[in-house]
Symmetry: D2
Subunit: 342 residues, 4 copies
């Protein structure tokens, strides 16, 4: 019998992508779509390309499904997860609520309190596959963090190389769906067409999540990790440039070999000979990586491209569910010849 | 009597912006528009918003104007400049032909030969105003270099700070007009809408021009200057993020003060309290700068935004002409309350 | 001495274009910018390309300027105009409040009451120049109506032709700035990029304004005037296709001749040999027209393109002011060689 | 055993969509991709989101597949089809070569000759399902014609209504993929962003195909069918507004009922209560229709939206193949809950 699955927070962009992908998933059955702001509306009123006859419901503590995806604004999942865990449900939280181990860092980062222990397995299959397979509670990575962690993992999980890293600079440009299903003047078409801007320049927003993924002592003295996020006029995608200053230079060939080896069993990571494009990963669960440069002076450039709503949210969440269910990791995510599509 | 001015290479995007801005310039008279590929066509056939009745002509060595702007593909200005200089003309070359002092570096960079001595004053008014005022031959800076040099100048012209610079990482995203009036599949609307890609990752393409501007010994051992250019779906603008690793940290306040002081007499550079936007500089000769971050660990972020066709090409070229003519630097470039306009 | 001018409702898109163009106008002096929702903010906080140091104020009945532009939402100008008229001020209302003569039709159209007599001269210079020159109160045409009326005027002001018109079909596609400085989900970049939709299909919304301009008896039995507005992914511009079914066919050549003759003294209307483009009129006060087809079977196609914020709003309003002031109609609107600019 | 299928002309946009959709089709096996301009290149070099290891080949008369899709420029299919027919192959031609019955009209329309008899069954399943099921040679409809014919069919296949039609006006706005995988300046991002233009205004280009679909005597005296195509800045989609002048008015309710009844067994046509959006049909095989207006004066508006590359090309071609193979019409085209996807 198929497992049943429900989505809490189904009406946002991550929620609608979960809806779309889970509906077509052969091994689960979509049961409820909860969205308190849209109760009673049909899904197709908001997403006219979604054709099935689902109606958004209010979530009031139901536990009649086997699996729960939480695609809520930060802070809202914290109070729902304990009851779902107690009821023995499989839980995948797409928010940041259960990502950061240190309560102090969480509160500094998200500007809201969280109870000690509100932490679940970090759901990045390329780094923690066996841990994911043996748990039932997942904290799904953030979209920026996904693009950055996958771009850095072959280097920073290698202790010999990790020691030579002096500084990391990250320029990451996101499509506007990253801001959610918004109604803000600054995100209107008239303001954003032909526009580009950075924000939260250098405030290290995602560094705890990223450094924790690599077992850095994130409470220690500052590390030269500089993060500059920006938005440009496209809807889907994150384009991330990672520049590393190393004390000991590596050749481009060796680095490329390292990346290919590291990701040899990762079906959704492609190490590309040329700089990636957003259009190559949009609507897919792929992360395209490119090792662009490894000079004699110790600087190295890695470029990473994902679809923020798929590999950066709904797709990775389903990949995690697949692993927890013990089924093929690619189920519903890679039906052969990928197109601008699942 | 007004000086007469002609444009050689008038049909490209830089040429058409020169046409538009010079036509409205109160102190010069536009005389000839040369464009060998468009001879006989009216300007408004290519640029329907340009209303005057100019017709593109073939350039065959005419010297009947006082001032010549050269907006030709790289390599084509080299052979024209000597005759124009000999005829006593004022020359402003927008190509890269006369920028790099070292013949060896020029040839490595542009992959084509140039004669020794083919060098003209680097036309960046914010750094070399008095030298520009006393010459009649200008090599106009490149668009990427303009956004980078203006973003770095207050730091790298200060010897005490310059010595503390360990590495510089530049992510610069250009609008597609930077590729010129092109007919390539990769630049078609269907390919580029909702797309983004980097190119020439880390190949240091503009570093000789930039390092030369700051009197670095560009022939010496490598300096950690990492440059990653990319394109995103907008027509005009360059959005540049500069990240510097310093051996001695500076406070954000001191850096901001330094920038404001450095540019206190530069009418087109605005030091902004927030991260700039492309829409704030598009169709203007402004360069907006923002000092975003200056941590205790020695990293510093500066963001720079320009219109690649105006401050990065035609506008800066006219600013240089104004200085050479001894008239107000802002003439035809800043009629008071700037709009999405000259 | 220069006339002084103030804008009530200065913070929307029409208001910001008025601000920009009036600031550079040589014959008037911009005095106050009123915007009740933005009091105390600097103009450049909303429009970073507008560089002067204006601050938005609250309008509380001041009458210290000579000229008032009203760029308010529909319904708000009705109560302000009587006092301004009594104080002897020149008034240009960009809203629909004073356009429709029939109170009954106004109320059916705008769904809000208006007093009898709240009507001012319809400010379309190409049709009513001498009336505009001899009044001081103007109701500025709507943007859709401007593109339609200019496209139809040579035919419908000709009684012999007007009699042969059986039906008129209008498809008009507007850029998203037509919806104003909005914060609606449906107008966000993520929803509108790569999208297009029609709205208010066939509800005849602008027909009273248009038919009144041509002295049709708008209260009489229905006329086959079908209007389908839509939006597409661009910020500025209206692209209007007018298709007329005539009982007596006209040749394309005769119609083109008629248009050129009709507009021979209209500096902002260009009859073009090819179908117009939005980029040819964006940032200008031009209306580009094209007579596309005049078959033997009595159908005729006219295409019209304007910038909705300039010729469809702020530019036409200033054109009207110029005429009322007795100065050159083109002042501040056509500085020679028009670019993507004023 | 699965039927084998090959695509001749596989590297254009229709060809790449065929590739993507056929690769995932459960009942056929993709065998060869022919593209003479790209021989030896991997598919993913052109379409990086297409992940399988196909290489483009040269077509030199091979007949080793069961089914051939021809996605060639107009004129090139004519010479290939006879041999494929003789070899007993199933053929689906996406070009215009086999659409028009009258050689004279074909030559006037396409400006190139064709032999008498070069005609195959018009592949519009919603009108000719049983004929398609009993043939093996299909001429696939054009993209504009698909959006127009589906929008008009319920009216023009009804003789009583058809007689009352006085005139039809069509404004159809296409995305830029309609121009193919192009390398033209006019279609570059820099020219087309924020732009819109009409072309071939009123030249009746598609009227033979459309009128033939409805058994009009296309060689007779002109019918008032006015067609104005335009392009706007999006990649996929055609947004078509159909305005009909009738001698006898119909109520909106009756027309809507007629449309719902006509399409009650058409799985890909949705009669919508509101004006359609491009984003609702992009990446799908849907045609969304809306009856917008049916006034008392005899005018009627119907709006139609499709993805030009799917329902207007590759999707409809596969729908035709499904019918010819006797399998479910929706196979590979509607896997349940459709997303921005197949």
């Amino acid at each position: 019998m198929k497992k049943t699955v429900s989505i809490i927070g189904a009406s946002g962009y991550s929620g609608s992508e979960l809806t779309r992908l889970l509906y077509d998933h052969p091994d689960v059955e979509l049961m409820h779509l909860y969205a308190h702001g849209q109760v009673g509306k049909q899904v197709k009123e908001l997403y006219p390309y979604l054709e099935a006859d689902f109606v958004y419901e209010a979530y009031t503590g139901q536990t009649d499904s086997d699996i729960y995806f939480l695609a809520l604004p930060h802070g809202e999942a914290l109070s729902l997860v304990p009851a779902l865990k107690n009821a023995g449900k499989m839980v995948i939280d797409l928010s940041g609520d259960h990502r950061i181990k240190s309560v102090k860092l969480h509160e500094a980062y998200y500007k809201s309190p969280k109870p000690a222990g509100a932490i679940m397995q970090y759901g990045m299959p390329e780094l923690f596959k066996s841990k994911i397979q043996s748990t039932t509670w997942i904290s799904n990575p953030g979209c920026y963090a996904t693009s950055i962690v996958l771009g850095l993992a072959p280097l920073l999980t290698n202790d010999a190389i990790k020691e030579t890293v002096e500084s990391i600079t990250v320029c990451a440009t996101s499509g506007l769906s990253g801001a959610g299903r918004a109604s803000k003047t600054a995100l209107s078409y008239s303001e954003m067409n032909a526009n580009m801007w950075a924000y939260k320049v250098g405030v290290h927003q995602h560094s705890p999540e990223i450094m924790q993924a690599f077992s850095y002592d994130v409470s220690s003295t500052p590390f030269a990790f500089t993060f500059v996020p920006s938005v440009a006029p496209f809807t889907r995608g994150i384009y991330t440039t990672l520049s590393l200053q190393l004390t000991k230079a590596l050749s481009k060939e060796d680095v490329e070999k390292l990346y290919k080896s590291f990701y040899r069993e990762a079906p959704f990571v492609r190490v590309q000979p040329n700089a990636p494009e957003i259009r190559a990963v949009a609507y897919t669960n792929f992360c395209d990586l490119h090792v662009g440069y490894a000079s004699q002076n110790g600087s190295l450039v890695v470029i990473s491209a994902i679809d923020n709503l798929i590999k950066g949210a709904a797709g990775q969440a389903i990949q995690n569910m697949n692993l927890m269910l013990g089924i093929d990791e690619e189920t519903a995510l890679k039906p052969g010849f990928l197109g601008p599509i699942h």
